[in-house]
Symmetry: D2
Subunit: 480 residues, 4 copies
């Protein structure tokens, strides 16, 4: 298993084509806008070497029997699934942001199921190929971007009937060595911190769309791949002097548009090619896993709750009954989220390949709550934090003696609370509810792993309404 | 294990002193008001003999190694705890009401922990006594009423300072053979269908209150015990001709006030006597277990969701997008409840006696949601059901040819839906949202196993706020 | 203006054909099940004679210039509309139930607009006829049932294509003297306490449905009209000995199915006959007025809030911060409802006939909140009331010395609170949240004046989305 | 009345001491960070000259009888109050932000009541002085900052017992010419765009605090006053090239810390000086008026709803039933807010000075909803907008041909929707839900005019609980 330092070094050796604010970025690892997101991924390496986190952060490879980072592991039982949920919460609670590495874990687990299933039907060799690739990922301890979301163009049309045929990523050529693909993947979390990009289709496909039913893995710096870095609320604060106003001093997340401009993929990296009837199941498995992954938001919630309690302490409001009650409510909602992540894991089961997958109904239910509760937790945090969170002058004003003296004097609350600490904690709450981390804690909670309506459709499909209706009939005396 | 028939027969042999509507009830088993609640308990016996339910409904005694009804089992691992949650949902989903038997199960599990702990400190013999009693319960397959809630009198005063010393049940005399107790237990679910009453204290006690720190078990028909049966919304419908208007034709629940008028308890049935410092932990363990038990409400929710879907089908509204969306929301909330029950079970752990107890934080979180979501599910059910649920004339009007012809004609919707079936399903929804079952599905969900504020206090005690504050400080750069 | 006594006497002179629990009711005024609903209507007469209520309860007829009961008034300005909202809240706050008389008021106001508009187009004489009829209603101070809701049969079909042509009320014959109608009106609030039935169509109609586009008024005891009385949760308690268990000792509401079995209507009582294109506007005006009328629920909310505060006082919980906060929330929601009723009235405007009508958008918004907030207020009331509300034995048990002594002893809280008073207030809360009054406070709040989805459709039609879109475009720099 | 141009010119003549990002700002009018907030105030001048807005934007001075800008008007009747609510919504709906001028209007109205009342008790001459000052404000058509919120220091201590005596603004010296004050006002909306600062105390005061009971007006550039400009989420985007990423191209709001460093106030500008018992009423009147003023948020809601509908249109999702339903919900909540603003205005009444004040209970209820609904509206907006709102690269990337071509291609939806327009509308939604405008739409909605708990306390004080309890007792038969 790599250390964090080794991970950082390995990134430096990649030659990614990244654009940010209209410029090509030469050194992505040290870029001040990108760096915090790299730090968050790096922590997934460092913690795996700490004994107190070993149980959650590592696992035993079912291929090699070696100890591996859990992010590269195929879940072998429900205990693995539960540990995945707990690992997510742990990392969220230590970083206060999206640490980006779960998409790759969810991609390899989903592929381990579907490549096996395709082989069963067509006697293809995808599963064996996939296991070879997986062993490489485990041995090298790589970060993989699980890339699913296509731009989708006109949402009323299937891939093959789009005005622009590239609205969904597809195979445009094929030869003995491999295939050539064109298209893009949008909203790619952590893409720029990844060694590998694992591409999957984004929706169920029909016969007509079969060129779009394609899955493969490539090095992140393969020829023809470009990254355009997404901007976030308050991203420019990372370019300012001073650290306070960025809120979270250490960690962040990012998303990028990843463009595949006629990229070649050798056959040994291809895991699905035109088996369109398997696109849907791959999407559903990935989605179920990834909906479970939002356990991390309970961890980010821990940070926001802690920050809010500190803001109350610093304001001298910590004993007010309404403040205590609101913090209870924040914790209640946050733990309800965690219950969902645990329950869908505990109710998971084995697929034909032996991979354990979460209970899909409960994973969808869990994610649906993630589209709601963080917003209410954030609202309550803003309630307790008070208005200074959005009216406080900048750190430069605090540092300027002419204005800093007034800020020190007039933002003082209790005598034993340094004014600067009060400002620091308010900036962290701002970061989580309006700033760069709000992107992950709120909007990504809404849309990541599928927007709310996607989960609602799945819930309606997965509940057994006939059984419920039959009991109702019986109880009220309707003959059946 | 007894069959349902054997259970019913065993009840007939008891000589309970039960009052209902101002009268002593001679035959409680066949009384039309009480009968449906007995039927619900009876089902817990019958299902244990059906192979498809065996895994959930039975367990292996850790004392005798024999197969026993799970309701008499001491949880040996988290799998047992998870099965308990699933058994609760199953029974709720088959009866559409409170089946009453979980209070006894929760009482014996809590006592198995606390009697052991008292012995550890005082070298008393409670645990051994308790196991002997438990073996009797398992062998005879008995229903136990776990009786905790005291009347409590003036809520601002402790037991020993109440104007009426009997506001909390207490020991009033003691001799070589046993103790004499006086007091009452209020809101006792299923008391009248029980073979045994297991009494526990209701709050943490101080030295002054030690006469109130008492736990014991007695046959339900012991000398000096009286039951006054609580009335429920729409209870009189069970005395009317016709079955439709009662909604649920088969099952119900009940609560009673149980009075202990100077009742003698032999020492071998006493499990705590004046060890006041253990009262609090017994209450907390029982409360945690019992908060988990509200998994049953997800089962009752299944019935209400099924009935609501049928009402939509019968009204011809089942394809309206807003109807579909509301049913999804009902399912979503219902499954969120289930997630809580599963999660607190899965995160349970062993106590010194070896008994497994649920995760207390998550059990409180789960119950807190139970005080909310059933109300919203019921509101949505009423939305979809339509106003006829509360304006429909009586079954007698349907049977009277002069009026029945108009009801048949004007309450007709689709040609293939018998009007009577439409009325039946609406009466079931009325039963669950306003009638006898609403008592269990709504108000008992609010107050059973502790009112909402009790859970909120526990949540605030059980979360680790210091850990959350420390990470927040670290992330925003506050020196610690 | 009649006194309450005169109103009651006038009802005795009617010969209504009413069925209840499978029997014809001979004396509707003194029937114990029906009586409380008559009492509530009666109060609308008595209050009009009390000076402190005169401003709200009376108005000056725009026809005769005489002082009349406001329930028979045509709104002449926005002040009238605002007073109507306040009158509704007043009556709800004094009765704790539905007082039933607003449907007639809303019907005459809607007809005053539409009969005028039909005349404008077709030079019919409906408006003049209507004013003559109105003068009779004002002079005699009559209660009118505004009867709109048809049974509707298969909801996917229009009136003229129903399998049963009577699923919507319609004209089946016509001669020089008048018309003959057949059909029914369901869920008719207060029908059995009315002197007159004013029939209106229930939906917009097309040419094919023109026989269904009919509006008229008839004496409530006209030949061929039958009433089948709807049953309510806990209605049988009104037949028991004792008064406590019914909760509200004085007032109630009711709904009935009103059947028109080939009923003759003379031309001078016909206000619309086959002018199908006006059916929709009549429905919309009535619906807007009637959605405003739910101001009464803020009044019922006042009663429930008062009862809940008393329950807290009697339980000794009135100083707990969570109790105070919940009562604030109940008041907040209740006053938010009132704001809606006031706002739609204040923003009303004149129609061509001179009648003032409420702002339709805000009336729909207001009613939409009525479909939600009473449920939450009721939930909070149950939270504060405690479980005894649903587990308390019957009044007969309280009166029986053998059991009454225990109830007195064990349901005692503070020494200065009579146990019976505690039970009385809990029974009132039960009445409002589960019992006969819950029908009006909850389910009727949901469906009366149109179910929630009906309001949502109106909201979507009435907001000016183009204006909102244009400003958004302008602000973000999109050329238009 | 000034034009917008004249207003801008008048600001240029002021010599305000403003600090921003650690620097003194030389030209506040043209500073790119400040400018949008000036534009919003400027619109309040320009609209007053447009005939279609004249009715809402202007009024007739009760002092001079001249036409004046309504922002300088003393409300003379409930119609004035209702027009104030409508003016607020209008301006919010045209600017999509806080236009800052209501604080001054609310301050002069509150002072017109309290100066009159002080005079009544003490025969002081404050009211006359105030009217002279008001006439000057009306004649010159000035923007006034109504400055109430003190820093407050340790919230558990009153002003006179604070460790730092300046934690509340107070009189430190007095002579024949006037008084000298020291302290600060925090979170001052629009301070830097104001001609005048009107200071008021922030809480009710006791005898000991009388030096803190002070109210006065000063020119904004009076000697000794400094402004430290508060930073907002995404404020730096106003310094970037390109306009798209700022979302709202034209308007914004701001808050500042205003420091009074021993500032002299001549007696003719002093409106309260040590009459401590009137501090509370001044605060309450200002608070009630200002809680009404949040009508503006319904206007900002209009912009967000329009933007969200456009995002749905551009995404091709406008016909999805869940999208339509969510937009209905946004409108429903937004109009519910408006109902509150209208209702508290319509129910207003005259104070002894003749000034009309809103109904305080309903104003608090209305504001309480403002602390909730905008958050839910924003959440729904983010739901419909989709994830691109937070993952879209910068405008610079769009302008760079190497990356812009990919953005054009892959962010394309419908063929007739320019990709740039789609990005523009998403940036506007980002602005309103996470960016500079979120400060006003969300956090200021929470805390402006008092945090939620302040309103809850007022609601509990203003409802008539005794009346509610008495009716409840009567209805359930409790003797009184």
């Amino acid at each position: 298993m790599k250390t964090g330092k080794e991970y950082e070094d390995s990134l430096r050796k990649l030659n990614l084509k990244v654009f940010l604010f209209g410029q090509r970025v030469e050194n992505i690892v040290d870029d001040p806008v990108i760096r915090p997101s790299m730090n968050a991924v790096k922590l997934t390496y460092d913690l795996a070497h700490q004994p107190e986190y070993e149980d959650l952060m590592t696992a035993t490879s079912h291929i090699t029997g070696k100890k591996i980072n859990r992010f590269t592991h195929i879940h072998q039982n429900t205990t693995d699934l539960v540990k995945k949920s707990k690992m997510g919460r742990l990392l969220g609670s230590l970083t206060g942001c999206c640490f980006q590495r779960c998409v790759g874990m969810d991609a390899i687990n989903a592929l381990s199921i579907t490549t096996f299933n395709i082989d069963e039907k067509y006697q293809t060799g995808y599963y064996k190929r996939f296991l070879q690739y997986l062993e490489y990922v485990q041995e090298q301890d790589l970060v993989c971007d699980g890339a699913m979301t296509d731009p989708k163009g006109d949402r009323s049309l299937p891939p093959s009937r789009q005005p622009d045929p590239d609205a969904f990523l597809h195979v445009i050529a094929e030869n003995d060595d491999g295939i050539v693909v064109r298209g893009a993947k949008a909203h790619q979390t952590g893409a720029v911190n990844s060694h590998e990009i694992i591409v999957m289709p984004t929706i169920a496909m029909r016969e007509d769309d079969k060129d779009y039913a394609v899955s493969f893995a490539l090095p992140a710096d393969a020829e023809g791949i470009s990254y355009i870095y997404g901007r976030q609320s308050c991203d420019m604060r990372k370019l300012e002097d001073g650290m306070i106003d960025r809120g979270n001093q250490h960690y962040g997340g990012h998303e990028a548009l990843v463009v595949f401009d006629d990229v070649f993929v050798p056959w040994d990296r291809v895991f699905m090619c035109r088996e369109h009837e398997f696109a849907g199941e791959l999407v559903e498995h990935f989605a179920s896993y990834h909906r479970q992954s939002y356990a991390c938001k309970a961890g980010v919630g821990d940070v926001l709750i802690g920050a809010t309690q500190l803001a109350a302490d610093y304001n001298g409001a910590e004993k007010a009954s309404h403040v205590k009650d609101k913090i209870i409510e924040m914790n209640h909602l946050n733990e309800t989220l965690f219950c969902g992540s645990l329950a869908c894991a505990g109710e998971g089961g084995a697929k034909p390949s032996g991979t354990y997958c979460v209970n899909a109904l409960l994973a969808n239910v869990s994610k649906q709550n993630v589209t709601r509760f963080p917003y209410e937790i954030a609202r309550l945090a803003q309630d307790i934090a008070g208005g200074l969170m959005v009216t406080c002058p900048s750190e430069q004003d605090l540092r300027n003696p002419d204005t800093g003296k007034w800020m020190e004097k007039y933002y003082k609350t209790k005598t034993d609370v340094p004014t600067e600490n009060r400002i620091r904690i308010l900036r962290l709450i701002e970061n989580l509810t309006l700033g760069t981390a709000a992107v992950g804690y709120l909007t990504e909670s809404m849309h990541g792993a599928g927007s709310p309506q996607a989960q609602r459709i799945m819930i309606s499909r997965l509940v057994n309404m006939e059984a419920k209706k039959n009991v109702a009939k019986k109880l009220c005396g309707i003959d059946q």
